[in-house]
Symmetry: C2
């Protein structure tokens, strides 16, 4: 496995679980760096800016700066900039707004309903009816809609909570069409930048001419599929959502399976530097 030079790590379930670091994550990242591997962190989390994510990692004694981080909030902001939007209405938290401001967009709670405005949705734990109303009116008046990700839920200490995908559902159904059978068919976002869509990482790989990359994640349905979409190798670690018993299920029903499987980042590291 020495052929891998660039390692891309998912965060939740690989490096930490919520606010608790995974055992030996910090020492593993340190060891890998010392052995010449280039380290990156990839996350769908849209509530924090890249700087805030780097700060969280440093809080776990993991050396990290924002240039190592690829997040769906950052990617959404970069896409909005690339598409020449000047104003964003955001269903999302401060980290997402920060990335949009850094990308040069104006963040407005009362957007103009014109072609220069874009709707950007992420996770917002203060989501309310008034936001939904403004976002929906933007879509229905023809504005473009960028979703950071469509994760239906995310794990929290006492269970699971609605994710960015759940909130997007309110917009998608509100803008939906009634089929001839009377069923409401959702209207999906114009752009979804997060995993498993390869857009989150494909430009980065291209711009940096990276070919020998390994993607490390904890979910077969999202992370392994993401690596497959990017045509790079994947390692599954069993320290998060997916269990060993899930592997055969996804192989059979989804035709995807990880290239490597490890119990955790510590075992992966041992393997890589051996």
């Amino acid at each position: 496995m020495k052929k891998f030079e660039h390692l891309f790590f998912d965060l939740d379930g690989v490096i930490y679980l919520g606010n608790k670091p995974i055992e030996r994550a910090a020492s593993s990242i340190k060891l890998l760096s010392e052995n010449g591997f280039k380290i990156y962190f990839v996350t769908n989390n849209a509530t924090k800016s890249r700087s805030q994510i780097a700060q969280k990692l440093r809080g776990f004694k993991i050396k990290a700066n924002k240039n190592q981080i690829i997040s769906s909030a950052f990617a959404a902001a970069q896409l909005a900039k690339k598409l020449n939007f000047s104003e964003a209405f955001v269903i999302g938290e401060d980290g997402l707004k920060k990335e949009l401001l850094l990308a040069g967009l104006k963040v407005s709670s009362k957007p103009k309903f014109d072609k220069k405005a874009v709707l950007v949705s992420g996770l917002d734990r203060n989501f309310n009816y008034n936001q939904l109303k403004i976002g929906l009116r933007l879509i229905l008046s023809g504005s473009k809609w960028i979703a950071c990700n469509l994760d239906p839920t995310y794990p929290v200490e006492d269970g699971i909570d609605p994710g960015a995908g759940s909130l997007a559902g309110a917009l998608a159904f509100g803008a939906g069409k009634i089929s001839k059978d009377g069923l409401l068919i959702p209207t999906y976002p114009d752009y979804v930048v997060g995993k498993p869509n390869k857009n989150l990482l494909s430009d980065f790989l291209k711009e940096n001419n990276i070919k020998n990359a390994l993607y490390v994640g904890d979910r077969i349905d999202i992370d392994v599929l993401f690596a497959k979409n990017l045509a790079i190798k994947s390692a599954l670690v069993l320290s998060g959502i997916s269990k060993k018993s899930d592997i055969s299920f996804y192989k059979k029903h989804y035709n995807i399976s990880p290239d490597f499987v490890f119990d955790s980042i510590a075992d992966l590291t041992k393997y890589l530097i051996d």
Copy 2:
């Protein structure tokens, strides 16, 4: 058309527009009653109880009592009772809660996660993240979900606002599954009681042995489809959403068309009593 004895009227777009009565609606209903027609009102509106709707009609000088009214909130409450649920967690406003209480259910903001609890969703203009979280956890723990209706939007004075279907989208996407293509596929409610589903009226027609009914509505995609699903005749009035030019579109693409078309309830009335 004298063969019709029972007339079922949609409300918004037929009898009133928001808080404004349609011209000659009150005198038309009076005339029809005097000529022996039995009058009923049918609405997907889930924010008001039947009593509150009757009161609104009386405010427009239309004689109405709650027994003439079939609403999606009432139907949802009756279904919850029929299915033997004892406790409801409600994403909805006071009218829906009132109907559930009248049907003998307990309405709880902190439901027990057991088989006796049901999630009931309607329109709630105070919708927030915490409600979504509880509703989603109920679905994911196996509770049944009754939706009053899946109307994506509804008309308000300054445009259109998210409807019960939009809010349901947040639950449907939160409980959704990621397909092998990485798309989030919604999980629909276990029961949808509102139009165009025939459930809203089919029991009523059966119990009262009503065969010669005419349904009067303003939307081809919902009202005319609803009548078709019930196998009763439909009259479209052009005082609400659907325009004359929509008729050929829906005939071609949806294979539905109204049996009769009138400019408004006044013209329908003239035709019926002539």
